[in-house]
């Protein structure tokens, strides 16, 4: 709704031909997840151009890739690191000139270093938000000592488990559970072990969730007691006062995802405007807003100092360094392995 109002405001401004700047604001097009049109995310852009860019939405990174490859054009897009190698290989992206990103030095170094932000020595993404993917469980039914990824395959939990309908996320979980040395470049043996793990939990699975809301509701109602999901689900459950939390013990296995903005090859807007938007997105004020209002972690390190410390604690980002050391990052997967994961995952889901 908000973006509709914005579009309306922009359209009215265009009709009235007020200032040139207002008309310009909406000429920048952003291809994004829905919800990210929130003006708090890019306050500096609104201040300079007098309005918001225009937004088009996708539901998954794969859907975005397919749409861009069939010729859809925009200036910026918002994928995550694990899929980015394919985007670069398909020639969809322009490298980012980091010298034009005024906040570049303030961004968390561990997030900047994630494989996928930089590919083959070139930077393709300005990291924006990050968070965890982990095992969320009902604390009233499973104790903190008892919970583990291996518990997912326990026959006692038949029909009480949900994992994402996404091969890369499922394999990241399986890699953590089976102790694979790397998830982006597993050996043949590790791949087999991970696949076998997914096969052993298949009989316990109530559903493979395709939207996070499905997982939230199932955990809240008690339909499932454990689910591999995003920190967003944990937050929704906290806000809903459901006794549930994410297993944040890095020894037991937790993953970190990073998403950010990329400059599309098909972009037609001036670099100046594109980089103004990228700077606004990575600014400290935007970071503070996204941490406090959305409960997501931002890439700007300074934002963690200026945001409400109590909220940071509640949302689980108080000790970011420990995550960075031991959690698994959703790096850009080796293309050949990615293909095999996708194929094998379809089989596993069908019970083969």
């Amino acid at each position: 709704m908000k973006h509709f109002v914005t579009a309306l405001a922009a359209a009215t401004a265009l009709g009235a031909t007020t200032t040139m700047a207002t008309a310009d604001a909406a000429s920048l097009s952003v291809f994004d997840w829905s919800g990210y049109e929130d003006q708090g995310f890019y306050g500096d852009y609104v201040a300079k151009y007098g309005g918001a860019p225009s937004y088009t939405y996708f539901g998954s990174v794969e859907e975005a890739f397919t749409k861009l490859q069939s010729g859809f054009a925009a200036d910026l897009a918002h994928p995550c690191t694990d899929g980015l190698r394919k985007w670069v290989a398909a020639g969809l992206l322009k490298p980012i000139d980091t010298s034009k990103i005024s906040n570049w030095d303030k961004l968390l170094p561990q997030i900047k270093d994630v494989d996928g932000v930089t590919i083959d020595g070139k930077t393709y993404m300005v990291p924006f938000e990050w968070g965890n993917t982990g095992l969320i469980y009902r604390t009233d039914q499973i104790s903190e000592e008892q919970v583990s990824l291996q518990l997912l395959s326990d026959p006692a939990y038949q029909g009480k488990v949900a994992i994402p309908d996404a091969a890369s996320s499922a394999y990241a979980m399986a890699a953590l559970a089976t102790g694979a040395s790397s998830y982006t470049d597993m050996s043949e043996e590790e791949f087999q072990k991970a696949s076998d793990f997914l096969r052993t939990i298949h009989p316990n699975i109530r559903f493979y969730w395709s939207d996070a809301g499905q997982l939230d509701q199932a955990l809240a109602s008690g339909e499932v007691t454990m689910g591999w999901g995003w920190n967003q689900s944990e937050l929704n459950l906290i806000w809903n006062e459901t006794p549930a939390k994410m297993m944040r013990d890095t020894d037991k296995g937790i993953a970190t995802w990073v998403c950010g903005y990329v400059h599309l090859e098909a972009s037609t807007q001036s670099d100046e405007q594109v980089y103004d938007m990228l700077n606004a997105l990575s600014a400290e004020a935007s970071g503070k807003y996204i941490i406090e209002s959305w409960g997501y972690a931002h890439s700007n390190a300074a934002a963690f100092e200026s945001a409400d410390q109590g909220l940071i604690e509640t949302y689980g980002f108080a000790d970011v360094d420990s995550f960075f050391e031991d959690s698994l990052f959703f790096d850009a997967v080796n293309p050949k392995l990615e293909g095999r994961m996708l194929k094998e995952f379809e089989r596993i889901k069908a019970g083969f």
């Binding site: 394919k86 091969a167 493979y208 293909g339 083969f352």
Partner: protein
């Protein structure tokens, strides 16, 4: 031009030209592209345009494909049988037993006033773990724990689809019942048929075309449905269209997706032709 429009054939061609052009561009064109794709191969982000049977070989030898095609046909068959069986009495009622035909026909189309997606979601709310059905049974004390077999399986897919497609079965059967010459029924009674005999030997055979039409209208689209199985099917209720969607989406293998689409299309065609032959033969026999 005027001369062309005067001849009978010319008039026919001129009249059918817009529709032919439309169908040609929007059906035959895309189908051609699909066939072309099915002979190409995907190499990461590029399409290799060397012609090959590799995709067909993969589709033919993969047990997963066979499994999903068979399951899709089974689910669509169950939906068709359930819908036609439930629709027939309603159509019969409207054709023979009521004077408010328009009102009834209008009532039947009511499900179509809301979006298909919303109807699927409402079934999810009805059948869900803490949904309408479970809450009702729990509060009545019939069950102690919510039933889990209601959702995320083939049953949920069949139920949802049967509800969504009901009007498509009622209307063709109603039309074929409406067309029956009432004097034939009187003649059957005069010649000593009981009500049941009259229905089986006169009414039913005369409505076979309506039943065939209703069955095909339901069977063909439901085999390829992917929204319903992905929302209420869980992992036990996935159908072939879900695998096709994966190829065009996450797996990014359009050629294999195109091949699977054509394989599904061929399977549907074969089953539909067999069904028409069988139904026609049965219709003749009972007469």
């Amino acid at each position: 031009m005027a001369g062309l429009l005067k001849s009978e054939a010319g008039k026919g061609l001129a009249l059918s030209a817009p529709a032919s052009l439309y169908v040609g561009l929007l059906v035959a064109g895309p189908l051609g592209i699909l066939v072309a794709y099915s002979f190409w191969t995907q190499t990461y982000v590029e399409i290799d345009k060397t012609l090959t049977w590799a995709n067909y070989l993969e589709a033919a030898t993969d047990p997963l494909v066979r499994h999903l095609v068979l399951r899709s046909i089974f689910i669509a068959g169950a939906v068709t049988a359930a819908t036609v069986a439930l629709a027939y009495p309603i159509a019969y009622f409207i054709a023979f037993r009521t004077n408010k035909k328009t009102l009834w026909l209008l009532l039947i189309t009511i499900p179509f006033w809301s979006s298909y997606l919303l109807r699927v979601f409402s079934w999810k709310l009805i059948l869900g773990f803490n949904g309408v059905m479970n809450s009702a049974l729990l509060s009545l004390g019939v069950i102690d724990e919510p039933l889990t077999f209601l959702l995320y399986n083939e049953f949920a897919v069949v139920l949802t689809l049967a509800h969504a497609w009901a009007p498509f079965a009622i209307l063709p059967i109603y039309v074929s019942l409406q067309k029956i010459d009432r004097s034939l029924l009187e003649a059957a009674t005069d010649l000593g048929c009981s009500k049941l005999e009259r229905f089986i030997r006169v009414t039913l055979p005369l409505t076979v075309p309506g039943i065939i039409a209703a069955s095909l209208i339901i069977f063909i689209p439901t085999v390829g449905d992917y929204v319903t199985p992905s929302l209420v099917g869980g992992s036990q209720g996935k159908m072939i269209a879900n695998l096709i969607q994966v190829q065009f989406g996450p797996a990014n293998n359009w050629p294999l997706g195109a091949t699977l689409s054509l394989v599904a299309m061929a399977a549907v065609g074969v089953v539909a032709i067999l069904f028409v032959l069988l139904a026609t033969a049965l219709g003749r026999r009972i007469r």
